[in-house]
Amino acid sequence: MFSSYTMTTLRYHRDRCINCGRCSEVCPHAVFLAGDEKAELVRPESCMECGACAGNCPVRAIEVDSGVGCAWAMISAALRGKDMDQCSCGGEAGSCCAEPEKR
């Protein structure tokens, strides 16, 4: 009840893991821990979908739809008729991290 943060888009293909240790190194929430033979996915519910682990995995053993968990950005995108999933943070002055110029 009153928790929207139990599921994420993180998927781990353990069979592909070569135990390079990158995922546990980059994750700031200890979602992955270094194991003896494979990286261990220990706290999936703490994933914030930043994408650091997936991007730095050299064998694509991790998949995640990375994005910024910012309601402000998503609501602004929705109000302007844009795709909520495609927005990043910023866009106009007034967000937590303003974007200096439009790209």
Binding site: M7, C27, P28, A52, G55, D65, G69, A71, A98
Partner: protein, 310 residues
């Protein structure tokens, strides 16, 4: 002073450092190389955390945005890192082939791509610059150094910027409510905005439930309570109007604080997009319903007063 202005959102993207290679202390060809963003606060946090250390700092062009946000956008990213390594001829300045990237820059960086394209091996440093001296001494980060925290100071440091953004609409609504309902209404607006911008971040971990919206509703209800009580006790209105007048803050303030609370998700370092999206679909309709009902109540009260019914 520059930091103070940055925190209040004055020219917020103009607090920039020129991208390039900087010398810290007296670095030699074997000194470590640390990457940073060209946001003054990021660069200075890095510099000041390493007193007496000889090192190179490679400042990437993130357009004046901090490491974490720039990494999320990809401006603190593989392309920019490879570009700056080449542009500064880093390979001719140092003998080793290692570059230390702040851990929170990792979402923008593909380490094995950097190595393939530049020959430099990426090492991820700790989350906090303050742990860098220990990291450089031991050559690795402890589990604690790898965890991002969101302590009181980090939560409230964003409040000034939020206040500046809220100032104008708040002032307008306060004036409008002052004429419509008197001083109580104006104060209620101020209380709601302060609750959303300052109290909410400060109390975040102590408010019950996990969702930001429900935390905000609870905080908003607590803030609304004294207003409802004071309106109810001093009311000289007929009973039906008193009920509406008491109900209005109890409806509107939680909706406003909840909306501001939900928007704080982007300032935290732990909410996932999947979760935030779920929150939006779950609670925004409720917030809109509450806000519309509350506004309707206000209009009823205003009109009744205007035509002399109450």
């Amino acid at each position: 002073m520059d930091h103070f202005l940055a925190r209040w959102g004055v020219n917020r993207t103009e607090h920039r450092v020129r991208p390039g290679l900087y010398r810290l202390g007296n670095p030699g060809p074997d000194s470590p190389v640390l990457a940073s963003a060209n946001y003054t606060l990021s660069f200075d946090a890095l510099r000041s955390s390493l007193p007496g250390q000889d090192a190179y700092i490679l400042v990437l062009d993130t357009m004046g945005i901090n490491v974490w946000c720039a990494a999320g956008k990809g401006t603190f990213g593989t392309d920019e890192l490879v570009r700056m390594i080449a542009l500064t001829s880093l390979a001719n300045v140092i003998r080793h082939r290692e570059i230390i990237i702040p851990q929170l820059g990792a979402p923008g960086i593909v380490a094995h791509e950097v190595t393939r394209r530049s020959g430099f091996r990426v090492r991820y440093g700790p989350v906090r610059a303050s742990d860098l001296p220990k990291y450089l001494e031991n050559g690795k980060a402890t589990a604690e150094m790898r965890r991002v925290l969101f302590p009181f100071r980090d939560r409230v440091v964003l409040a000034p910027v939020e206040l500046v953004h809220a100032a104008l609409p708040t002032a307008v609504v306060m004036v409008a409510l002052y004429f419509l309902t008197g001083l109580t209404g104006a104060l209620a607006v101020l209380a709601a905005v302060l609750a959303g911008t300052v109290l909410f971040p400060a109390l975040l971990p102590f408010l019950p439930t996990k969702d930001f919206s429900t935390k905000g509703i609870i905080l908003g209800a607590l803030v609304a309570l004294p207003f409802a009580v004071s309106i109810g006790t001093v009311s000289t209105l007929p009973p039906w109007a008193t009920v509406i007048a008491v109900a209005t803050p109890l409806i509107i303030i939680p909706a406003v604080v909840a909306y501001m609370a939900l928007n704080f998700t982007g300032c935290t370092p732990y909410t996932s997009r999947t979760g935030v999206k779920k929150e939006i679909f779950r609670y925004v309709p409720v917030m809109v319903l509450l806000a519309v009902t509350g506004t309707a109540f206000l209009i009823v009260l205003g009109v009744s007063r205007f035509i002399g019914v109450i």
